[in-house]
């Protein structure tokens, strides 16, 4: 085999992710060599890195190329996911700076870990090979495990890191085994080549289909754990509650970006024709549908009885994973696959802005010792911090899916895709559960606006946090009022290879 030349690697299109990953090493060095009183600059370097990567992504946007021996795809899907992931990272950095300082955890390694995790999500979005999916997933997860346990000497934080880690390692073992089985059935780990050989297997009625199906099931398990869908969701509330709030915020978005990107890539690009017997749609469609329905129901219902805002948002994030899962189910239909993928992307973007905004406000009213995350703590916020309260209300409306907010845009597209794919019952469940979700989101608004009580002074609402809120707020409204901004970006997204069985 030839050692590929530098030009063959086509590194140009990998720049956004590669820059971020390499920048991390530099960042570690910067942090190590900065004088102690200048250490706070690390965060700004990290932010600069994110912005550079963002710009690089924009420059590369719309290309459609592979790189690094076919293991890396740079297309609109990747580009959009990168933008979402980088936005999440940037907002998280804004949230972290003051939070870490006031809780006594300000250490520069945090930002390196955050960037590594972001890079992991970006690599997952551009993975074109099961091996890359696995390794990038670990690159996404391991920093998250560490960041979850980031609080010094805090039993809750350590516990949440530990729980996340044990279950995460457990589930990634399933992912590896699933990949192994798919490799066994097709003899390759490259997604396109898997697709190419599936045609033959299905056509010949070969019983290798068993390997494929079980492999696909295990991959769904492994990735389903990352994006927290029922029944792989149990870790979410505990981990979200225990982890430092900025980490929770990032986790709720970053892990979903990576997980759903990989899920869509693997299921839609590699396994769209995994059919058997009389079925027309791929065999994973039914499973994904059931998972989506369960996720919607459990997430939305259990969220109602939560009294801690972080736990409530954890269940809400489970529920939103369910909505994106609806899009994945819709992507099983080759005719709606691309539209479904686009709707998932738009949903993710909408969810990113809204959820980070909500977490930003939860973080603002959190006390230095980690208390103050109860829903009761929102009482009277409209009087003490009217701007924050108004923003929170918009975020809650957006999570509920009220029109002219990003949440509605996302829901609209996802429901549309689901209906177009003919999954009417699933769409009905989606709409009904979003009605249910009004119960717990509105409760926050009621607490803020309509309840007697002294408002929290929101000690955490430093200028940086406020900026994070403003950015999320602007994103939420912009995407709600001008959905065309997002639809234009996703216009060229296509996951379905042109190979048919």
């Amino acid at each position: 085999m030839d050692i590929p030349s530098f030009a063959d690697l086509n590194l140009g299109v990998t720049l956004p992710a590669v820059f971020l990953a390499l920048g991390t090493t530099v960042l570690l060095l910067i942090d190590a060599f900065l004088p102690k009183e200048r250490r706070h600059l690390t965060a700004w370097f990290a932010l600069a890195g994110v912005l550079v990567s963002f710009v690089l992504t924009l420059f590369n946007f719309g290309s459609s190329e592979t790189a690094l021996a076919g293991m890396f795809v740079a297309d609109s899907f990747t580009g959009f996911m990168n933008l979402v992931a980088l936005t999440a990272a940037a907002i998280t950095i804004l949230l972290s700076i003051d939070y870490l300082k006031r809780t006594g955890n300000a250490r520069g390694e945090f930002y390196s870990l955050l960037l590594l995790s972001t890079a992991g999500a970006m690599f997952m979005a551009s993975a074109n090979d099961l091996i890359v999916v696995f390794v990038a997933l670990e690159l996404l997860s391991i920093p998250l495990y560490i960041m979850a346990a980031f609080r010094l000497n805090n039993a809750k934080s350590e516990e949440s890191g530990m729980k996340y880690f044990i279950l995460g390692a457990f589930s990634s073992a399933f992912l590896v085994y699933g990949s192994a089985l798919i490799y066994g059935a097709t003899g390759t780990t490259n997604l396109q080549e898997i697709l190419a050989s599936i045609g033959g297997i299905v056509e010949a009625g070969s019983s290798a289909i068993f390997y494929l199906v079980i492999g696909a099931a295990l991959i769904v398990v492994g990735l389903g754990f990352k994006v927290a869908v029922v029944p792989f969701h149990m870790w979410t509330p505990d981990v979200y509650e225990g982890a430092p709030t900025p980490v929770t915020a990032f986790m709720s978005v970053g892990a979903k970006i990576g997980g759903f990107a990989a899920l869509l890539r693997v299921l839609v690009t590699a396994l769209p024709f995994l059919v058997a017997g009389q079925t027309v749609e791929p065999v994973w469609q039914n499973t994904i549908m059931i998972v989506a329905a369960l996720t919607l129901i459990v997430g939305n219902f259990v969220a109602i009885s939560q009294s801690n805002i972080k736990r409530m948002l954890a269940y809400s994030s489970i529920a939103h994973a369910g909505y994106i899962m609806m899009a994945v189910a819709a992507a099983a239909n080759p005719f709606t696959a691309d539209f479904a993928a686009r709707s998932a992307l738009i949903y993710l973007l909408a969810y990113t802005f809204t959820n980070l905004g909500a977490f930003a406000i939860a973080l603002a009213i959190e006390k230095d010792d980690g208390s103050g995350t109860d829903i009761k703590d929102f009482v009277g916020l409209a009087r003490s911090k009217p701007v924050l309260a108004a923003a929170m209300a918009v975020f809650m409306f957006s999570l509920t899916g009220i029109p002219l907010t990003a949440g509605f845009t996302g829901k609209w597209f996802v429901f549309q895709a689901t209906m177009q794919a003919g999954l009417v019952p699933l769409a009905v469940i989606g709409v009904l559960t979003s009605v249910v979700s009004a119960f717990y989101y509105v409760r926050i608004i009621v607490n803020m606006y309509l309840s007697d009580g002294e408002g929290d002074e929101a000690a955490g609402a430093t200028p940086l946090v406020n900026w994070a809120v403003y950015i999320s707020f602007a994103g939420t409204l912009l995407l709600g009022v001008f959905p065309i901004l997002a639809t234009n970006l996703t216009e060229t997204v296509t996951l379905l290879a042109s190979v048919a069985p």
Binding site: V220, V302, Q306, L404, P483, I484
Partner: protein
């Protein structure tokens, strides 16, 4: 002339601007300035409306569709054919709605500037009111279902914010207010579910959400009339010569004729009228059409020339949802239609797993729309929120919960008249729901003591009239009643606000408190309810203007000749009669139940007059009450005039002496003819003397009866009881009414108990199979105890706040059960994960095994 319509976006923009100013800078402004901004924004929408109105009159009532210039498409994904532009539809129906929304809205803004004086969140209030206007105008002017839905949700949101506006009132009142707000929100969300489903179904079926496409002819029938007659209506009654209802109409007619003369033979001109994408571009399309159809567009014709009088030249996919539905419904078995993009459409609509006939689909869509309308327009079964919503400030009750927002459901159904026309079954359901609502709400209104609650139930009842009218196909009558109702119900609400204000004032006065903080300070109000009619009486002399206007409103609502209510209610009854007798529709017979509702209306309204204004004051507060400030009384007077005259908008034909010859001034069927340009299946009925007399007699009899019972200072007896309540014979009737038909409690029994049982079952199953040891105690023991308690006190626990909160509680209960699986132990989570693994594998293998 066409470019006039281009200012349509302003009608949304201006109140939005007002909202932004008042929301962000309001707290820094003083009251006068805040209210000035609010009123200006609102009044300017009315000015915009005048322009739009004159535009329609100058263009032969041809609809215009206006794109927002800065928004290049709204939601657009060409690759999947998803195209939902932000377009406003300016046609007679939407302009009618805009008309009374902006007009009543402006009056109420003025009124509120006095009413809300002294409130700490004065500016916020105006911001919300303006925001409401903006959303309401989006709702009525949107040219697609999604815009309609945006407005729909938006007005719901504003309603929520405004109902809970006084959330910080002390002594638990604030809590009640916020609960009412939440109830309204959640009930509306249930209705919204229906709307969303209807929208999705419509999109699935028709591939578009546009009501009518820009190139489309709305009402072929009227277009033909225009093309041939050259007048403004087929009746030739020359409404153009009539005096203007709101002004502008009269001077419009000559302009129209002049225009017609100028453009004789110019088909391009008129095609572009019907099809202007942005209106001012009458470029290629119009000219091409002129060439193609120049010959057929008769030369030298005197009247205006219409190139297309129907939609036959358009392919299927160039039509909006309504025309598409009609074409599909006309198809025979197995026939197909060219869509225009190479595909075909047939009667059977494919839903993935199954197929449905187009009739079934339309029925489903209309039923879902009905569900949406029951939420927004407060019909059975979702009406429970509206009476509670009276917790909001009175201007809100008048504007949102009487005149405008609650009519959105009716508007939407009238807009979708093509669909309801095709769906006989749905129409029947609509009628039944409307009549039942009208009857039960009218009955309940009889037994209330809260002045605003009476009006609230009356609103529900009148909305029932309108819904029933839609059901029997009397779309014009529904719209007519909506307009007159907006006038007199707004009048009544504002009047009641004036009364409350006066009584409260009197209360302050009586207790010798300082006068200047008369706002909404509740510090001595715990024992005194200024809204309770038992605390009033004899206000006639204290508040003469309020009394006079209130009386006019009452007579109009009761349907006495010649007040506005008489004409509109009569038209609904007459149309039902025609539907029943001439067309033999079952729905028509059902609608005859409205006679009873009409009698009830007269009864409870007169009861209110007697309790509030007649007799002698029963409390000190009533004794000391005084007339309100001018900013509150002026709107009352204006609305009173309209309540008196509004009925002449739509004088029926064949009326004879009844009209005083006013049809010479107003014309006959002015409103119906005008609406006919956009409401395809509008029914223009003739006068039914018998119906008019019967209803009039019923109303008068009811008033006399009420006067007998409550008149001459007997309204409330010495024990504070209603005469009906005091009389043992009528006590059960009154008690049932006073208890609001036990509606909330029935909800409780119907939904909450079974749901609780299910929840308990689920919890047990989950428990036994999954976490037996861990939460044996907490679920089995406590759970059964809890269920036992729930069952033994069904009303006590979940239902105090009515069904909606009850369902909320239930969901919370289920949620609590599910939540217990979250034990906090890693190994349990891992087991759940493994169960998931096995389940996923089995599910994925199943199809392989079956194959």
């Amino acid at each position: 002339m066409q470019s006039l319509a281009l200012i349509a976006p302003l009608i949304i923009l201006l109140p939005s601007l007002g909202t932004i100013i008042n929301f962000f800078w309001g707290p820094k402004l003083n009251e006068r300035f805040s209210s000035l901004i609010g009123i200006t924004a609102s009044a300017s929408t009315f000015v915009v409306w005048l322009v739009l109105f004159s535009y329609l009159n100058g263009n032969y009532y041809q609809p215009a569709i206006v794109d927002l210039p800065i928004l290049d498409g709204w939601i657009r994904i060409p690759s999947v054919g998803l195209e939902i532009p932000w377009q406003q539809r300016i046609d007679t129906l939407s302009v009618t709605m805009m008309g009374f929304v902006t007009f009543v809205g402006t009056l109420i803004h003025i009124y509120a500037s006095g009413y809300m004086h002294g409130d700490p969140r004065y500016a916020r209030f105006f911001a919300y009111l303006n925001m409401f206007l903006a959303f309401m105008l989006i709702l009525v002017s949107g040219n697609n279902l999604l815009m309609l839905f945006v407005g729909w949700e938006g007005v719901g949101l504003c309603s929520y914010l405004l109902v809970g506006f006084w959330f910080d009132k002390k002594h638990g009142v604030g809590l009640k207010n916020s609960n009412a707000a939440r109830k309204a929100f959640v009930a509306n969300r249930i209705g919204d579910f229906g709307m969303l489903m209807a929208i999705f179904l419509a999109f699935w079926t028709f591939g578009t959400l546009d009501l009518y496409k820009p190139t489309e002819v709305t009402n072929p029938h009227m277009m033909e009339a225009l093309a041939s007659g050259g007048g403004h209506g087929e009746e030739g009654a020359a409404p153009a010569n009539g005096a203007a209802e709101e002004g502008g109409h009269g001077e419009e007619a000559p302009a129209g004729e002049e225009g017609a003369g100028d453009h004789t033979g110019s088909a391009a001109q008129l095609v572009s009228l019907a099809s202007d994408l942005p209106i001012d571009q009458e470029g290629d399309h119009g000219e091409a059409a002129a060439e193609d159809h120049g010959e057929s567009a008769s030369e030298g014709h005197a009247g205006p020339v219409i190139a297309y009088t129907d939609n036959t030249h358009l392919t299927f996919s160039q039509l909006g949802i309504f025309a598409q539905a009609e074409r599909l419904a006309q198809l025979g078995e197995g026939e197909t239609l060219e869509r225009g993009d190479g595909t075909t459409a047939g009667r059977m609509i494919n839903f993935g797993a199954f197929e449905l006939d187009i009739d079934t689909v339309i029925t489903l869509i209309t039923l879902f729309m009905l569900l949406g309308a029951t939420g927004k327009s407060a019909q059975i079964p979702l009406f429970v929120w509206l009476p509670d919503a009276m917790a909001g400030p009175t201007p809100v009750s008048a504007l949102i919960h009487a005149a405008t927002m609650v009519t959105a459901g009716v508007y939407m159904m009238v807009r979708a008249n093509s669909l309801f026309h095709l769906a006989e079954f749905s129409s029947l359901v609509v009628t039944i729901i409307g009549v039942l609502t009208a009857l039960s709400a009218g009955y309940v209104a009889m037994g209330q003591f809260d002045i605003k609650k009476v009006l609230a139930y009356s609103t529900v009842s009148q909305l029932g009239f309108m819904v029933a009218a839609v059901g029997v196909g009397a779309y014009g009558a529904a719209m007519f009643h909506m307009i007159t109702h907006a006038f007199f119900k707004a009048l009544l609400f504002l009047g009641s606000g004036s009364v409350i204000h006066g009584v409260e004032h009197g209360h302050h006065h009586a207790h010798e408190h300082k006068h200047d903080d008369h706002g909404h300070d509740e510090h001595h109000a715990e024992t005194f309810d200024p809204q309770d009619m038992r605390n009033m009486g004899g206000l006639r002399r204290k508040m003469p203007i309020t009394y006079a206007t209130y009386l006019i409103g009452t007579l109009a609502l009761a349907g006495l000749y010649p007040f506005a209510g008489f004409w509109s209610k009569d038209e609904i009854l007459a149309d039902s009669w025609v539907a029943a007798i001439q067309d033999g529709k079952f729905a028509g017979f059902v609608a005859l139940g409205l006679f009873v509702a009409a009698a009830l209306t007269a009864f409870y309204m007169w009861r209110q007059i007697e309790m509030v204004f007649h007799g002698s004051p029963r409390t000190e507060a009533a004794e000391q009450a005084s007339e309100s400030v001018w900013s509150m009384t002026v709107p009352l007077v204006i609305l009173a005039v309209l309540s008196l005259l509004g009925g002449f908008l739509n004088i029926p034909s064949g009326i004879g002496l009844f009209s005083f010859g006013l049809q010479g001034v107003f014309g006959e069927h002015t409103l119906s003819t005008w609406l006919e340009y956009s409401v395809v299946h509008l029914h223009v009925g003739a006068f039914q003397p018998l119906i008019a007399i019967v209803s009039l007699v019923l109303a008068v009899a009811a008033i006399i009866l009420a006067n007998r019972i409550y008149g001459s200072n007997k309204a409330i007896n010495s024990e504070g009881l209603d005469p009906l309540e005091a009389n043992p014979a009528s006590r059960p009737i009154f008690a049932l009414s006073n208890a609001r038909l036990y509606w909330d409690e029935i909800y409780g029994r119907l939904f909450i108990t079974p749901f609780n049982r299910t929840a308990a079952f689920l919890a047990n199953v989950v428990d036994m199979a999954f976490l037996h040891d861990y939460f044996h105690d907490s679920v089995i023991t406590k759970g059964f105890n809890g269920i036992g308690r729930l069952l033994s006190h069904p009303i006590d626990l979940g239902i105090i706040d009515g069904a909606v909160n009850g369902i909320g509680r239930l969901t919370r209960w289920i949620s609590g059960g599910l939540r217990r699986t979250q034990a906090g132990y890693v190994r349990v989570y891992a087991v759940a994960l493994l169960i998931g693994v096995v389940a996923v594998i089995v599910f994925m293998l199943l199809p392989v095994l079956q194959g």
